[in-house]
Symmetry: C2
DNA sequence: CATACCGGAGAACGAACGTTCTCCAGACTT
DNA sequence: AAGTCTGGAGAACGTTCGTTCTCCGGTATG
């Protein structure tokens, strides 16, 4: 039985603190990578004591997992919101690359957090590798669904997904958003060939 | 003045040991990532004592840099060898994706070591980020040169390079070599549109 | 043969970090 | 008002890891 009291009010509810911790960790992990952000840094930045951190989460690994899960939801929501604003199948698929372009241009863009996490921990922490795989699989399935709705052939979805992946790594490493435009032009050519014209 | 004596013979020449260390480190870093392979593991696997490791290299960071440099040379050589076997501009460009397909199928394939290193250390070790950037820039320039020799338009090179990057991350995360075939088919369509027919 | 040197095995050191513990102040319950 | 619980500040613990040091056997040089 959970009791809500003035004590909770002083320290904020557990759920709110959890969200704050995940948001802070998300930002720090994105900025500096996972391994180089210690629990002390997370405490300093979030203002949540170590004791409470370990009451809310059993380990750092679980925090990382929840950060990746929240990133997945936020990222997929952002993409589908951008897609929803476009009209017509072709414009909707192109909206993915416009979204990427805008994302790459943000000044805290440090590459796809999932790709980075995979490079950082994919070889040693199997649970994280699974989350990364699921994220990419979800994105590929989403693109495939859009292609299907557009009446395009089955081979187009994987191709567009690969373009999006390549744009992400290229933009992250080169430090420019140019790759998004290159990928967008390639997507137009592929859609032309697939007969998606409107 | 370097003296070659029986003492050196017992312990092997410094250059040979350096090469052995780099090769061993290359394999271990590829398998388990950089951070999780300590100097003790490198000593155990290479048979070179810590004392000698630190006589040959000033620090682990320098070893990592040399591993990446040697990977770059080996990778670029492998790609150009595969390209050289093909005849005609179109087949040469497609040979890149055939090379990727074969690479992804190797059982010790764990993704592009440069992308992984970037995710692992790009945010904290600037010298490594530079090496990764240079590697990707070299590859992009190589593709652009092939496109130019084929008489293709300037926009095609970046597009093919993005496909190759996307195939690498997709194959690494998904654990299949399917992405290479998808990327190859996309490359054919893009070359068709660019007028590279033979 | 004596001595200086090279290198191996492995201990040792210092820092970083994940996790837990101690001490204590404030707030709710009875 | 006494007792109990929560949570903060920060010390402490154990481990990992990069790097250096100690000890010692063997080799080459006088």
């Amino acid at each position: 039985m959970t009791k809500v009291t003035a004590n909770d009010a002083r320290a904020s509810s557990d759920d709110a603190v959890r969200d704050l911790v995940i948001a802070t960790a998300d930002s720090l992990y994105n900025l500096r990578g996972i391994q180089s952000v210690g629990m002390d840094a997370l405490r300093d930045e979030s203002g949540v004591s170590l004791k409470r951190l370990y009451k809310l989460f059993p380990s750092k690994e679980v925090i990382v997992e929840e950060v990746l899960r929240s990133r997945h939801e936020r990222w997929m929501s952002s993409v589908s919101a951008a897609v929803a604003e476009a009209s017509g199948p072709r414009q909707q698929l192109l909206a993915i690359f416009d979204f990427l372009s805008a994302w790459f241009g943000e000044n805290d863009f440090r590459g796809c957090g999932f790709i980075n996490s995979f490079g950082e921990l994919g070889g040693t922490v199997e649970s994280l590798a699974g989350i990364v795989r699921d994220h990419k699989a979800d994105f590929q399935a989403y693109v495939a669904r859009l292609v299907e709705q557009a009446g395009g052939p089955a081979w187009l979805g994987p191709q567009l997904a690969i373009l999006a992946e390549g744009a992400q790594t290229t933009a992250a490493i080169a430090g420019t958003s140019q790759a998004a435009d290159d990928a967008r032009r390639a997507a137009e050519i592929l859609m032309d060939a697939a007969g998606i014209t409107e």
